[in-house]
């Protein structure tokens, strides 16, 4: 379950990365061409950009919050499991030492 979710997050990160690398350049180039050739008024391009920026910022913010929460839960589970393993190793070590002493 965790593995599937981890892969899903990894894919989402890759998609965000691609989106961040392509969108600003594509938007700038497209809007410049459309504005220069008078296809779209500058005001429209500005508001489209502002809307896109807002939607991206809000989506990223919530995605980041959920992802961080998930990562923290994984980290905390991993750390609990490590503590358990550490405690078990201590018990096994003690038992081995006791056996040694008995001999």
């Amino acid at each position: 379950m965790d593995k599937v979710k981890n892969q899903k997050i990894q894919k989402q990160v890759e998609r965000w990365d691609l989106f961040a690398r392509l969108t600003p350049t594509l938007f700038l180039a497209t809007s410049l061409i459309l504005v220069v050739f008078d296809v779209v008024p500058l005001e429209y391009a500005f508001y489209i950009g502002l809307t896109g920026f807002t939607i991206t910022a809000v989506s990223w913010w919530w995605w980041a919050i959920f992802t961080i929460r998930y990562l923290i839960s994984i980290l905390s589970r991993a750390s609990t499991n490590l503590i358990d393993v550490n405690n078990e190793i201590k018990i096994v070590k003690k038992e081995l030492e006791d056996l040694k002493d008995e001999r």
Binding site: A20, R21, P24, T25, F27, L28
Partner: protein, 158 residues
């Protein structure tokens, strides 16, 4: 794609994307600044030859202009302070006294003086003048029609 080529492409797209984002932010902020800016800042209009005795009312406009703007429409009315009666000032017959750039597009400090004929049917008294002006302003890629109105310009006719 080879690892080195992939890295190069990734680095290049990162740089281009960063520059595009910076350009978009700078253009966006400039557009908001241009959109919200007044044509004239810290400006005022006054009648310089109060009380008006002759056939001409002289005005002065002082202030500063940040963007290049061209005057496209102007209209001015004088309202009798007591009765509210309206007298249109004829801007088609205006004469420039000090500057010939009121219609022009110079930025920086503005000091314009012009005169308009006193309306024939105007009688002695105190008037409040309003001036409505429309400008076509340009800045970088941006272009916008802006309106600036000046109210409560005191005019005394003798």
């Amino acid at each position: 794609m080879k690892d080195k080529t992939y890295r190069l492409v990734k680095a290049a797209t990162n740089i281009i994307s960063g520059l595009s984002m910076t350009t978009l932010i700078v253009l966006g902020v400039s557009y908001i600044g241009f959109n919200n800016a007044f044509v004239f800042n810290n400006s005022g209009i006054a009648v310089t030859n109060n009380p008006v005795t002759g056939g001409q009312i002289n005005f002065i406009l002082e202030g500063s202009r940040r963007h290049e703007c061209i005057l496209t429409k102007v209209h001015s009315d004088a309202f009798d302070d007591a009765t509210g009666e309206r007298f249109a000032l004829d801007f088609a017959r205006k004469v420039y006294i000090r500057s010939d750039d009121y219609l022009g597009s110079d930025t920086g400090e503005v000091d314009h003086q012009w005169g308009v004929p006193t309306p024939d049917n105007m009688y002695p008294g105190l008037y409040r003048v309003t001036l409505y002006s429309e400008f076509e302003c340009v800045y970088l890629l941006f272009k916008k029609t802006k309106i600036q109105t000046f109210d409560n310009i005191s005019l005394i006719v003798k």
